[in-house]
Amino acid sequence: MAFINIKTKSVQVKIVYYGPGRGGKTANLEYIYQKYRSSITTEMVSLKTHDDRTLFFDFLPFDVGKIKGYDVSIQLYTVPGQVKYNATRKLVLKGVDGIVFVADAMVEQRKSNIESLNQLRENLESYNLNINTIPLVMQYNKYDLKDAGVPLLSPQIMQQDLNSQLRVPAFAASALAGGNVVATLKKIISLTLSSIQDQIF
């Protein structure tokens, strides 16, 4: 549930990028940070290990203007993707309003994607949230690797594996090159804000 301060007339919305390790969650945030650097007033915070794996989370806040007189600030978080960090992943999901599931299109990651999505479902349940109702966008990442000859799952197979029941908006993307990163972000912001508007205003 978004955090609303009636005194300062502000709304804080928490969007979490979730998905298997090395899938491109941090790369999404880094691309957004680089692209909109001039209008983002704070630094991006990254808690990572010495080999650049996310240890706790990345955090990137920015403002998106006003809704009904309230200043809306979006806070993007990532979770650590590695299997062993589920306790930390769960902590980051606390208070989440919207989720981008960043799946890895490499053939060898097929199982990890499905496992990660199942774990997301369980982790949300521990906060009494339902994966079927929370604003959610799928991003199938790494399609830039096609040119390098890396075997990739087609977006159709990704849809079948991950989105056949959820039926949420999905994008084939390349987080490193920026392909569909902004489209994903815009989609999750609009889904989340309209869900919040329904709840509050």
């Binding site: 915070v45 806040p61 606390k94």
Partner: protein
């Protein structure tokens, strides 16, 4: 478990006032009341020290949540108090309840003992404002 409360503007004003009177006036340079998801409910400072409170709150909530998970692993229900000491500045974290965390930043001209006394007093006052 206490339900996450909805605070009125009057309550928020009262919270600001308590933090100013009990902590900033006692020499604390920066104080924040945040929730466990990292949202800032109130931030007060002595006018001389500005920090990126948005990031600080997100990190503090993450830090506290991690410490709490560690507490559970050693069989404690919680470590309600955290203290980080720096060369000139120190930070004191105190859990108010399952929903809120009070963060007090101060310099070495003020002792930890005083901070603990003032924080306890402040938390009593905040509890009255938030839950009454």
């Amino acid at each position: 478990m206490k339900k996450y409360p909805i605070l009125t503007e009057k309550q928020l004003d009262a919270i600001d006032e308590v933090l100013q009177q009990k902590l900033i006036k006692a020499g604390v340079r920066n104080v924040m009341l945040i929730d466990m998801a990292g949202n800032t409910i109130s931030k007060q400072d002595n006018g001389q020290f500005k920090i990126d409170t948005l990031s600080f709150a997100a990190l503090a909530a993450g830090n506290f949540a991690a410490v709490e998970a560690m507490a559970k692993l050693v069989g404690e229900s919680e470590f309600a108090l955290l203290f980080h000491r720096g060369e000139t500045a120190s930070v004191h974290f105190s859990k108010i309840d399952q929903n809120f965390l009070l963060i007090t930043m101060f310099q070495k001209d003020i002792s930890l003992g005083i901070i603990r006394l003032k924080v306890t007093d402040t938390i009593d006052a905040l509890n009255k404002i938030i839950y009454n």
